[in-house]
Symmetry: D2
Subunit: 146 residues, 4 copies
C-alpha cells in the first residue's frame, strides 16, 4: 500500500485529475513496491530494470485535488517465466471503512537487462519475492460497454 | 492521422519515452479527432465533454526523443448507446512504406454533460460522425503473457 | 514549510530532477501556503485566484529521485498594492542541522478576479495574513555570471 | 525560431497554459537550438551536456490551448568563459505583423562534462557558434512591482 500525494497540476482544464495522471500514480506505487520494498526482501535486480509491456485501467469516479494523498493498493497477479502482472486499486478508505474506488488497473511487466538492452527471465529469488505479494482474487479493471 | 511532436522531457531516466507519456500522445490524437475534425463534421458536443472510462495499451518498441513527430493513427472501433471505443496505433512509417509500431491502444469514451455532471447518450449526429471513422479490423492491443 | 514528495518521473534523461520540475515543487509549496494555510487565517480569496507574473530561480545542486520528500521553505518577501512576492528555498536539512540547498527562487504574484478576468488589489485582510509570513532577509536567487 | 505545439494537458484547472509549462516550451526551444541547430554548425558538445543555472521569466498574457503551435524566439544574450545566457520570447505574430507576447525569459546555462560530472569552460568553437546567435538588445523579462 502506497499513499500517493496529488499535485495541484494533476488537474486538467475540467478540474479533475486527468486520466493520464492516474498512470503516474500507478508508476509511483510500482516504484515503491519494486525499488523500495522488493529490494529489502532480496530482489535488487527488479529495481534496476523493469519494462512495461501492457497497461489496462478502468476509471470509476472522478478525483479532485486535495491536500490528502490517495491510496494505491498494489499486488502481484501472476508470475510467469519472463513477465509478471501487477494489479492496482486507486481509492480512499474512510474512517468507517467505506471505500471510494477511483480506478482499477493491471500491468504486464518484463524484467529487463539494461546493459544488454534485452528482456530477461524472472530470476528464482525474484519469483520468491513477487510470490510473497501474490493475490489471485483482487479486483480487475472493468469491461465497460453500452 | 495525427503527427504528435515529442518533447525532450518525455524521456525518463532510462532515456526512453516513458510509458505514461504514450497516453499523452493518445490524448493529443483524441483531441485532434474529437475537438478539431469531428466538430467540422457536425459533432460539436463531443468537443465539449467526453470522459475516459477505460484504456488498454500494449508497448511494442522503445521510442527515443527525436525532432520528428511520431504518427498516431486513430479510428473508431465501436459506437454504442452511451459510449464508444477508439483504437490507436503509435508508429513510424518510413519512405519505403515499412512500419515501426511503438504501441497499440484502445479506449472506451463516454459522452458527458459537463453542466449536469452526468454521462449522456450518444446523439444521432454524433453517431453519424463517429461511424464515418469506423474501422472494425484495426490492430488490437496485444495480450502478452509468458 | 512544505515537504514535497518527488516522483520518479521527475527525473529527465540525465537522471536528475529536471529544472522545470522545480517550478512544480514551488507551485505545490505555494498551493500549500495560499490554499491551505492562508485560508485558515482568513484570506479565502487568495485560494480562489492568484496569477504568476514572474519567476526567478537559481539552481545550486542536482537533485535525484529518492523516497524521502524534499523540503520547500516559503515566505513572503513583499506585499504591494496589487501584487506580492514569495521567496522559496528547496533544500534538505540533515539531522545534524547541515543544509543542502538545491534551489532558491522568488515569484511575483497578482491577486486575480477569475469571474471578471481582471487583476485586483490586495485586500486588507489578505495583507494582514501575508504580512504574518513576511521575512525580509531570506536568501535570494543567485546572479550567476562567469 | 521554434514553433512549439501546445498539448491539451498543458492547461491547468483555470483553463490556461500553466505557468510551469512555459518553461517546458523554453526547454523545447533550447533543445532545438543546442541539439539541432548548433551541432550543424560545429558545437556538438553543447548537445551532450548543458546545465541550467538560472531562469528568469515574466508572464504578459494568458495562453489557451489551440491546434496552432506558439512561436518561441531564442537568442544568445551573453557568452562568458564558463557560462552563457539565452533570451527567449514566447509569442504569436499575426499575418499583419502584429505581435502578442505571452512571456519573456532568460536563462544562464553552464556547459557540463557529464562523464566527469563537472562544469567546464566554453570551448573556442562553441563560442563562435554561440556568438553567431548573439543579440544584445533583445527584450528582457519585466520587473513587475506595484
Amino acid at each position: 500500500m502506497t499513499h500517493v500525494p496529488l499535485r495541484w497540476a494533476d488537474m486538467d482544464a475540467y478540474g479533475h485529475v486527468n486520466n493520464v495522471v492516474y498512470l503516474r500514480y500507478l508508476q509511483e506505487a510500482r516504484v515503491d513496491m519494486l525499488f523500495v520494498h522488493a529490494p529489502k526482501q532480496g530482489a535488487e535486480q527488479l529495481a534496476e530494470g523493469v519494462v512495461v509491456a501492457r497497461h489496462e485501467i478502468s476509471y470509476h469516479a472522478p478525483l479532485h485535488y486535495r491536500a490528502e494523498p490517495v491510496r494505491v493498493e498494489t499486488w502481484v497477479r501472476r508470475v510467469g517465466n519472463s513477465s509478471f502482472d501487477l494489479g492496482y486499486e486507486v481509492l480512499d478508505v474512510a474512517d468507517d471503512g467505506s471505500r471510494t474506488v477511483y480506478a482499477v488497473a493491471s500491468s504486464v511487466l518484463v524484467p529487463y537487462d539494461l546493459d544488454d538492452a534485452h528482456p530477461r527471465r524472472v530470476a528464482h529469488e525474484e519469483r520468491l519475492v513477487l510470490e510473497s505479494f501474490l493475490e489471485l482474487d483482487g479486483p480487475e479493471p472493468g469491461k465497460a460497454a453500452a
